[in-house]
Symmetry: C2
Amino acid sequence: MLAVLCADDRPPLMAAVEAAAEVRYADAAGLPAALRGADCLLVWDFLSRAVEPAFAAADRLGWLHIASTGVDNVLFPAMRQSDVLLTNSSGIFDGAIAEYVLGCVLAFAKDFRTTLTAQREKRWYHRETERIAGRRAVVVGTGPIGRAIARLLAAAGLQVTGVGRTARVADPDFVAVQASSDLHKCLGEADFVVAVAPLTDATAGMFDKAAFGAMKPTARFINVGRGGLVVTDDLVEALQGKVIAGAALDVFEIEPLPVRHPLWSLPNVLISPHMSGDFVGWLPALAELFVDNFGKWQAGMPLRNVVDKQLGYVPAR
Amino acid sequence: MLAVLCADDRPPLMAAVEAAAEVRYADAAGLPAALRGADCLLVWDFLSRAVEPAFAAADRLGWLHIASTGVDNVLFPAMRQSDVLLTNSSGIFDGAIAEYVLGCVLAFAKDFRTTLTAQREKRWYHRETERIAGRRAVVVGTGPIGRAIARLLAAAGLQVTGVGRTARVADPDFVAVQASSDLHKCLGEADFVVAVAPLTDATAGMFDKAAFGAMKPTARFINVGRGGLVVTDDLVEALQGKVIAGAALDVFEIEPLPVRHPLWSLPNVLISPHMSGDFVGWLPALAELFVDNFGKWQAGMPLRNVVDKQLGYVPAR
């Protein structure tokens, strides 16, 4: 028996699963009832925080799959301490997010925002813009998405350093990987800082006043990881005080970003609605991954993308 | 004796040249007087069309250098028929223009314009956006700038075909190079069409109603070459009629683009003011190239970037 937590839209491609198991689609309110007697839970509405309050009803749950890479919304203490296997959707978003980050880098360097503003005013406003070749990027997070970002930025001519849990000298995707204990030192060398670490106790709030203070005043900060990696008030202050030169933010501590939030109207900030990985075709791709894992689950085979519940992500093989 | 055609700004780094020769800086009005007795002419104001009407005063001119890659503004019939050597600034702009084109490709694919519009309205507007990996680009123009564009787009995951004067099977920078006689056939396969050919009698107006009609309705057209490559009215019609999906235009038949021109306000068009190659540092780089060529000229050595005045560009070695 499979419970599926979804909001307005149900996952596609579920015919084979529905033929093989009883499937109960539920919203947040219906989740406790759906979880009673369920063997598996698919968290299709991956932004929902409804699993934790409903978890007591999970009387025989063995497996939880989430349609996202980040697992912070389902990795509450009771889940972490349980025997429930957790899998995520790592791999689906890598390429799209990497392209999005490169797009942000180029939008900053080529000053597209001013170009569009001048165009609205029908103003011929010639100016010099930046090269990206040879510029330095620091990617904080060395999982598959961080690696895809590093490869694409390097292909476009940037020098890319990674920041991970442990330093590594030889790495296929980064010029070097520094330990997160050296984060502030690395940040001082970056023209572009990309946040893509998983949100865990160790990473929450890592981009705070001290981190922004360690960056160059010309640096741009790009967050495609999780809003909780950032102390948002410190970021607003750094942007207003020109401690850093700009930010492209796809994720926020509170989503949707509240209408009255100052980030919306800062001149040097690009706000996008948590969509950097959501390419045309992402929903079928997410469903396919779940259906594949469901087949493995039924057959008693090892699942793809098993999350280490203590680390908070799928460890590298 | 050296004449320099400039508008408001003089070239930097001219001390060595001024020590070695008499240098006459002139604007359009002063150019005929400056040309009398001059051995060389540096066209620093490369957008000016003042050389042709002043050319009769050039009584001993041996060399003309222009601070741009395109030479259409100085390749009028009397210049073409003369013995005056023509050199250009090929090589300076390649990397910056390639980055600009990749930026345009990503701005279209990731729909940055809508993102910025939604941000102004403080509206959380989630949507799916396009991947660029695997998409097809056709670059019309296989000179150094077209090749730099092809390499960068390929590095970012696109399949890039070139269109040049003659077809080539094996090419280091393109999947294939097709002859311009097959232009319309190539255009039908492109997600992104990049115009970067030199403006010559053979290329003027090559992007006309028939060319836009040959493109996919989802195609985006990017012009970083010359405005005269395009029949502008046909482009406006193709955009208004959704014959193609969008355009990024850095060059125009008339520059600056007149305030009343319909291109300014088409929703699917990005207008920039002839600046795709003008990176921070371009002016010293242009001056350095001229100063280097001036030293070669004085020493009687072969010059860099000698333009074939019949072809209208520097031929590949």
